[in-house]
């Protein structure tokens, strides 16, 4: 069974229709890349999944549980949205690290705050916090940032900041990890280190949705690719097929335009 099912999502900003009848499934352990030109609705779709935007129509189902249904107000309560967000992790284009905390604290903060809600927090406070710290260190080590854990974001390069942001999203063990153009704000020579990390996550079968402009990366890392244009899914299929041998004319045009610019 698919871990994520998206049914007929629609989103308007005033009279502008940003997303139209978006439906897709994602299997556990798979990576899905979403490609398309700017303004095609990729980022809005990701924001809808993370409850940063509210879809006007449609349903979002994770692991069989309906997290959002536009026709069912009971699924839209503000109080529950917070818990529902934890199914998803989101890595932003511009990192959005908390500047006043060290790399390690950025990774552990949310988990520490969540652990306060555990019934045994008061008794085992020290052990719980130590465990979270150890997990945070381990995650940073995975990102190749062991020697940077006490640095503040302003002391890190863009690529390092983005890797901290990935560790921060992983710390809460989300079912699905979303990337919103993770390398678009980076200098070309720094994109490699971030892509390498995402690649290794894919090898460890992390369920991911990656909005990206790196076509070769999408082809190599993703299992499936969705091409979006004008708020609709134009083409969806196995990564290699969509990028190397697209069926739709619009996909072909987009990819050839893209190849010329490169």
């Amino acid at each position: 069974m698919a871990i994520l099912e998206v049914h007929n999502i629609e989103k308007h900003f005033g009279p502008t229709r940003v997303l139209e009848d978006i439906s897709f499934d994602l299997e556990k352990g798979q990576a899905l890349a979403i490609i398309g030109s700017s303004g095609s609705g990729k980022t809005t779709l990701l924001r809808c999944l993370n409850f940063l935007e509210t879809p006007d129509q449609g349903r979002i189902v994770v692991g069989g549980e309906t997290l959002y249904d536009a026709d069912d107000p009971a699924t839209q309560r503000e109080s529950q949205v917070r818990k529902k967000r934890l199914h998803f992790g989101l890595v932003f284009q511009s990192f959005n690290l908390f500047p006043q905390y060290t790399a390690l604290k950025n990774v552990t903060l949310a988990k520490e705050l969540l652990s306060q809600e555990r019934p045994d927090f008061k008794q085992n406070k020290k052990a719980i916090l130590e465990e979270i710290q150890a997990e945070g260190r381990e995650l940073l080590a995975k990102m190749g940032l062991s020697d940077r854990e006490s640095h503040y974001p302003c002391q890190l390069s863009g690529g390092q900041q983005q890797r901290v942001a990935i560790a921060r999203a992983l710390a809460l063990q989300p079912d699905i990890l979303c990337f919103d153009e993770p390398t678009s704000a980076l200098d070309p020579e720094l994109t490699g280190e971030v892509l390498k990390v995402i690649r290794s996550l894919a090898e460890q079968k992390t369920t991911m949705i990656i909005v990206t402009h790196e076509m070769a990366f999408a082809r190599d890392v993703a299992d499936e690719v969705i091409f979006m244009d004008g708020g609709v899914i134009v083409e969806k299929g196995p990564a290699r097929q969509v990028i190397e041998d697209p069926r739709e004319e619009r996909t072909r045009q987009f990819l050839s335009r893209y190849a010329q610019e490169q």
Binding site: L52, R82, S94, P99, Q100, L109, Y152, P153
Partner: protein, 257 residues
Amino acid sequence: MFQSIYDFFSNPQTQTVLSALNSGFLVTLQLFVITLAGALPLGLLISLGSMNRMRPFGWIARHLGIIPRRRVAVWICSFRPVSAICRLLVWIIRGTPLVLQIIALYYVPGIEKWFYWPSSNGRMIAVCLAFILNYACYFSEIYRGGIQGVPVGQQEAGQVLGMTKGQIFFKVTLLQMVKRIVPPMSNEIITLVKDTSLARVIALQEVIWMGESFMKGNSGISGLTWPLFFTAVYYLIFSGVATILLGRLEKKLNYFQ
């Protein structure tokens, strides 16, 4: 020369004047501290109020299933009363002179019944209320700028990490806001040091009032002008200390960008 300075300060008349100025400055200091202690939190409340997005009429309409169509109805449904009240207050307080507000709080008939006005320090209470209200309104605008200056992405990052609104405010936004507001706040605080002298309009015996009193006659001394000008020394020292402390705070917050 040192001899003449020594003679000046050991003169009994000088000693009388200085001890009077000291006691006046103590009142200035009290007013300053009380104003800050009251206005800093109150200003934050007013700024949160002016940014409050609650639309009760729109909420009621939505729950009754009414979709507003007329222009008036749309306006009523998008009306934000908490925000409107806070902004009205800020407009009135910032739009009128502080001197008037002090006089109003102390002299407007009947107002003393609203508060407990012990006769001995009624002046102090009136002045403190006026200063707290006035400065809270100025601070609220500084806070608002500081809060709105923190990128939306910070709040969104907190949201996707499952933090509550309160956690986002206290753990993510607050310190970044504080860093942003220290320079404009320092400006207001330095202004407050000197604005305290407005309190003499209702004869609160702060340092300027004391200085002036030796021109009119106080402790058998009259026609003396130097005490009034000497008060500047107090203000200079005090604002100097404030500048250094606030500068240190600014430096301390420089560890992040």
